[in-house]
Symmetry: C2
DNA sequence: CTGAAAGCGCTTACAG
DNA sequence: CTGAAAGCGCTTACAG
């Protein structure tokens, strides 16, 4: 077992000072060719690598990004991490992942934990509970301490910082319009409770699209799901008791559940009922029939968020208060759950 | 903007020494009740939190776990991270995630990056390329430096360390036996190339189950997929050109692709062809028909791996060479893709 | 060209 | 009861 070697040990072995070793390894012109080579050879032999923690303390930067998301088992969030990772690694940054589990308290604890010097900045998406409580003090605090934050997807207007979002309302509008254009009138909406920001925005898009098409909003066709884990019965109930020609679901879980409920009842998709989902994930692709969705490119969102954060971290004028909101474009991926015209 | 406050600043404000402040905050009995209260009040007011990096340097431990996996967008790996996170957080540890993207080079780079003091230990699953090359020097090196490693799922016998696995061969055996017991004889196998350890083991289980049931192995019914992203044609081809009653697939992607190919050809699942997959993920659950799978509890595997790692990290006798291999039990989740007897 | 010193933010054995 | 000193592993302005 050969433990990691330090500058101190090298200095001792070679009978020079620590400063000399440090400078030699950095190819400082202060050092004689001779010593430099000797030190470098020795360092290579012992596979010297500078200690990151010491560097972090010295430089006051960790080259690490903290990412806080509600869940990792949601495909969308996993793709975002993947996007962040890519860009981060390209720039020599590591990524610490913390999960809030949709809990306000866990979100706060995680942020405080990471804010104590472990990372240089945050990339985050709000937990449901945080959105419900509208308590963002933990985020304000971190920002006030001078640590940059980039929010994505589930963001809030109450916090001033860089953001990466999609135009949820517009994307939903387009999706519903597509259904209308295909001739559907009785279009149901399966959405989240209103305090989930993106759910609310997508609901708005749905309503706008119908109004704009002179279709009357039928409250009976709008289902707001509180508990995502037990959405089956509610969705089955909706399909069973209402005359529905098409469904717009604000995420792919609701979409696939709607399809399975329809099939169970004996309806054919898309012949008897068409379905459009949101967030183009693995479920939509592999469902039978596969599901037409509004694609929300998580890789791109994560990549963009990382880019914005790193740019801010490496900018000269630290306290630039000019925050940007980047809107990632979406598009409709047409699959089997909607008929071709 | 109020920057983070340090011991030094508190000491200056209160006109005491840094040592006194440090001790006061730690409730050291050395300090007078008076000073202690004064310091604590001040610290609270300024929301003092010790700097993690400084603590890490001092204590030579970071309370951070590094996890290296091939992909995060694979549901199984996401669940493992989730499991690691839970247990890690319970014990005050953070988790740094690095993705190898199935690349040997990225795996090596990531490990070296994290091994330079950023973390206390690794939890990892080998990249495909690493398994193919059988080059594990980066792992040996890390272990030799005294940094513990726990491997899971895609492990190797060439490295001595703690491991968390399932009994892949046995689980596959059971799955295939179940098909045999349901009366199927012409059972196809869709598997990975042999260098993927778990693919190979599951293949072995398949073969053993057939041999044990006196069914002759038909090489034409065994499909080894190299490129997972383009498995469609190969699978479609298999189903089209062979007489098959049932399929055992070594992951859920192959399983769902097999189902979609069957449906496309006009076969009914499970009436015309039954399917069992492996790794109980979101796809299996939401496919239509839903897929019977061998469940591989990622949360549990991740949790166990984290537990083993943390135990080793916090053990007294650092250099305990007694490594354990923990086998997580699996079971068959029966769904619609196999008929009930 | 080389090295001692100060410093990043903390802890703790030791002296007074 | 308080504080100076040494140290974790590094960097860098400064002295010689």
């Amino acid at each position: 077992m050969k433990r990691k070697v330090t500058l101190k040990q090298i200095a001792k072995e070679l009978d020079v000072s620590i400063s000399t070793v440090s400078k030699s390894l950095k190819d400082s012109p202060e050092i004689s060719e001779d010593t430099r080579q000797k030190v470098q050879a020795f360092a290579k032999l012992y596979n010297y690598k500078p200690n990151n923690i010491a560097l972090s303390l010295k430089n006051k930067k960790t080259k690490t990004i903290g990412i806080i998301i509600p869940e990792i088992v949601h495909h969308f969030f996993a793709t975002v991490i993947s996007g962040v990772e890519n860009v981060a690694n390209e720039h020599g940054y590591n990524v610490i992942v913390c999960l809030s589990d949709e809990s306000f308290d866990k979100e706060v604890i995680n942020m405080e934990m990471l804010a104590n010097g472990s990372i240089d900045g945050f990339i985050m998406s709000l937990s449901k509970e945080t959105q419900q409580k509208k308590d963002f003090h933990h985020i304000t605090e971190v920002i006030n301490q001078g640590m940059p934050v980039v929010m994505f997807d589930r963001v809030t207007n109450d916090i001033l910082c860089d953001k990466v979002i999609i135009d949820d309302s517009q994307a939903a509008y387009q999706a519903v319009k597509t259904l209308v254009n295909k001739g559907y009138k009785k279009i149901a909406l399966i959405t989240t409770v209103d305090y989930v920001s993106v759910g609310k925005l997508r609901t708005e898009g749905y309503i706008k699209a119908l109004q704009n098409s002179d279709i009357k909003i039928d409250e009976n066709l709008i289902l707001k799901i509180e508990d995502i884990d037990h959405c089956d019965e509610a969705i089955e109930n909706l399909i069973n008791h209402q005359e529905i020609e098409a469904i717009f679901a604000v995420n792919e879980l609701f979409a696939v559940t709607a399809i399975k409920a329809s099939l169970k009842i004996g309806l054919k998709v898309p012949e008897d009922i068409a379905v459009i989902g949101f967030t183009d994930g693995i479920i939509s692709k592999y469902s039978s029939p596969s599901i037409t969705t509004v694609s929300q490119n998580g890789i791109k969102m994560g990549g963009k968020a990382a880019k914005m954060l790193i740019e801010r971290l490496e900018r000269e004028d630290e306290d630039d208060e000019h925050y940007r909101t980047e809107v990632i474009e979406t598009h409709l991926v047409e699959r089997e759950s909607t008929p071709t015209l």
